[in-house]
């Protein structure tokens, strides 16, 4: 009898031991893009990673972007995945400061990322350490209706004077020069960033978003003067504040508007709106102040490891994996964006190629106003930009208000 019990116990124990040994290690990865392209790219990468690491059991969760933004504060504390997607710059700062993101500088050291991912390194770093690994970025610039330009005999403008000439000609022909939808504010920030980068350069952009320069600074006022030239001449789409960026694609698609200051993700929307590839083209935002080195907007997307992750060892494997040249090449081909790893290859697509050239020759890469500036400042700033576009004569009042908020936010 006694032996029988012992036997049962031993066999039970061995079953537990064997099964736990054959259990793969779980790796939970949370992603935040359900759009067809990004979803497919993510799933392909997961499949490849799984194949290379059969001993890891990858559990991939993909959710809606806005929901992800709302949920991240909770899950980082309560139920952290091993890897999560998020954004660099000031968007990662609160989590880094609160100790919720893991320092991944060792992944950068071990994989030569300091060199290969140099383009995005500054925005992935806080306090000289790196906190995540980027997998993709994309260019901003001016997308335009090539067919309309050809019909009116217009060329891609290179300078501010040329740009205004193009706007003027378009308006003369009853076409709104620049389409924009500012209901969700950030599109106006894109225009502001570009005029500011071209007027004052990269350093002023950084100093402004870091709270080192006031909004009433003469340099920033100069930026608004240039912007006012476009606003007062009526070059922007009317009623832009009741439209989202997708709504503003409609006049662009049906030929009522001819240019759009946007990010490369918008190309998909133009095609879906019925425009053919030949009808659209791209040029970098024109020069304003001569001699200011050309800096560009290039927001990056990245992966991070929460401090509360359970399987950090394999999470780091995933970070090293997503930054590998072959993985980045494949991933960005699928989503129509640019790989960050300088050893990766860009897709054979006219927008991607132009973007690659534009960004590679840029003197500096800005993340975007609302990623470079502190969140609270960004919210007030973007509302100010929208107000300026509707009531340009209120500029002084708006700038003073922004100064006040800036003084409060960057104490």
């Amino acid at each position: 009898m006694y032996n029988k019990i012992k036997l049962t116990l031993v066999s039970l124990l061995s079953v537990i031991l064997i099964s736990s040994a054959s259990f793969a290690r779980d790796l939970v990865i949370t992603f935040d893009d359900m759009n067809p392209g990004p979803k497919a790219a993510f799933e392909n990468a997961i499949a490849k990673f799984q194949k290379e690491n059969p001993d890891i059991n990858v559990i991939a969760n993909n959710g809606d972007r806005e929901e992800h933004k709302a949920a991240i504060r909770n899950f980082l504390i309560a139920d952290a995945p091993d890897v999560t997607s998020w954004y660099p710059g000031n968007r990662m700062r609160p989590f880094v400061k609160a100790g919720l993101f893991e320092d991944v500088s060792d992944v950068w050291d071990a994989n030569n990322f300091h060199e290969d991912l140099a383009a995005i390194k500054p925005t992935m770093s806080i306090g000289g350490r790196q906190w995540g690994v980027p997998y993709s970025y994309y260019q901003w610039g001016v997308y335009y209706r090539k067919d309309i330009f050809d019909e009116l005999g217009l060329f891609e403008p290179n300078t501010w004077v040329q740009f205004k000439y193009v706007c003027d000609k378009l308006k003369e022909n009853g076409i709104t020069p620049i389409t924009i939808g500012t209901k969700y504010l950030w599109t106006a920030a894109g225009v502001f960033d570009y005029i500011n980068l071209r007027t004052n350069g990269y350093k002023v952009h950084n100093d402004l978003t870091a709270g080192k320069i006031k909004y009433t600074d003469p340099r920033i006022k100069k930026t608004f003067e240039y912007w006012a030239e476009l606003v007062n001449a009526g070059y922007f789409l009317e009623n832009h504040s009741s439209m989202s960026w997708q709504d503003a694609v409609v006049p662009f698609a049906n030929g009522e508007a001819a240019m759009y200051v946007m990010g490369n993700f918008s190309v998909d929307a133009y095609k879906n709106a019925g425009l053919s590839y030949e009808q659209i083209d791209f040029f970098p935002f024109p020069k304003i102040t001569p001699g200011v080195p050309r800096a560009e907007e290039a927001p990056a997307d990245a992966f991070f490891i929460p401090t509360n992750a359970k399987n950090k060892r394999d999470a780091k494997k995933w970070l090293a994996f997503v930054a590998r040249p072959d993985v980045q090449t494949e991933w960005n081909k699928t989503i129509g964006q640019l790989p960050i790893n300088s050893k990766a290859q860009v897709a054979d697509d006219k927008f991607i190629k132009q973007g690659f050239e534009t960004l590679n020759s840029a003197a500096g890469l800005a993340q975007f106003y609302d990623r470079d500036a502190v969140a609270e400042m960004a919210a007030a700033g973007m509302e100010g930009f929208q107000e300026f576009m509707m009531k340009p004569d209120r500029l002084d009042k708006i700038l003073k208000r922004l100064d006040k908020i800036q003084a409060k936010v960057y104490k």
Partner: protein
């Protein structure tokens, strides 16, 4: 006749005082949940309003700094002003609800169907109402734009105009609110005493005179409830603003409830202390009305 059973000092035994304890057993669950989910959070948010806290790190005691900042905040005053516009305009729902109720309070074939049509906006969600109206106002394809164009006028983008936007949202909000007041009045009207009407008619009262001196006094409870729900509805207006404009353009349609959400919980700000300070101010404004409401209720009960 009803009689409240009181604790009897002479009866020491629990079983003999059972009836005095019984009401508390039934009240207990409600009291517990009310304390946890209503009373405690009120004190907690007042408490948080004295801190600077982003919800992640350590909360930092700042005393009254959030309130000092609040009283120097343009957006706060815009929101406060809009709240008062809401309060006044929203009260239009009461007379309009009464008007529709009087109109529908007749015996015609299919009246139930008509009543349900008028009641319909109250049944659908506020979010849907907001969506419908933002399409209605859309300057490119909206119904309002078509109406303007058919008169040869340039369409107005109501939701992009800082002066019109709040009125535009309130107009949308009135739609379900009128239906709500109408229902309150309809039930009130069914209780209007026939004898009094009869007597008034014999004395020669009719039309507006009859309404003012005979019907309305009998509708006082319905009027009271309508005013109270409308005032509270106006003060906590949130869904419409969130759906139709998100407080825009540039904050000009903000109300306190939405501004609180924006500063404390939205994508661009996690200032829970500052948000709580806004909530506290909003709470004290509401307290005036709620206090009045409770006082009236108490007085009425005593009179009965």
């Amino acid at each position: 006749m009803e009689q409240i059973v009181r604790f009897n000092e002479n009866k020491r035994n629990y079983s003999e005082n059972k009836l005095a304890f019984a009401p508390w057993y039934f009240l207990l669950p409600a009291i517990i949940f009310f304390l946890i989910y209503v009373i405690f959070p009120i004190f907690q948010s007042v408490w948080i309003s004295f801190y600077e806290w982003d919800g992640l790190g350590e909360a930092q005691w700042v005393g009254l700094a959030n309130y000092v900042e609040l009283f120097d905040d343009e957006y706060f005053y815009t929101s406060l002003k809009n709240n008062f516009i809401w309060l006044i305009m929203y009260l239009l729902a009461v007379p309009m609800g009464l008007f529709i109720a009087l109109f529908l309070n007749q015996v015609v074939f299919g009246i139930r169907f008509y009543k349900s049509l008028f009641f319909f906006p109250f049944v659908i969600s506020q979010v849907v109402v907001g969506l419908i109206f933002s399409w209605f106002y859309n300057p490119n394809f909206g119904l309002l734009a078509s109406i303007f164009l058919s008169f040869g006028l340039e369409p107005i983008a109501v939701l992009s105009d800082e002066d019109l936007v709040t009125y535009g949202i309130i107009f949308a909000g009135l739609w379900p609110q009128i239906a709500y007041c109408m229902i309150l009045y309809l039930t009130g009207l069914s209780n209007v005493s026939k004898d009094l009407m009869e007597a008034a008619r014999l004395d020669g009262a009719k039309g507006l005179k009859m309404l003012w001196h005979v019907v309305l006094p009998q509708l006082r409870p319905a009027t009271f409830i309508s005013v109270v729900v409308t005032v509270i509805g106006a003060l906590r207006s949130f869904d419409m603003v969130a759906i139709m404009t998100e407080g825009g353009p540039y904050g000009s349609s903000n109300v306190l409830a939405y501004y609180m959400y924006e500063t404390a919980l939205s994508e661009y700000g996690f200032r829970l202390g500052y948000g709580s300070a806004i909530a506290t101010v909003l709470f004290f404004i509401m307290l005036v009305y709620i206090g009045y409401f409770l006082w009236r209720l108490y007085k009425n009960e005593r009179e009965v």
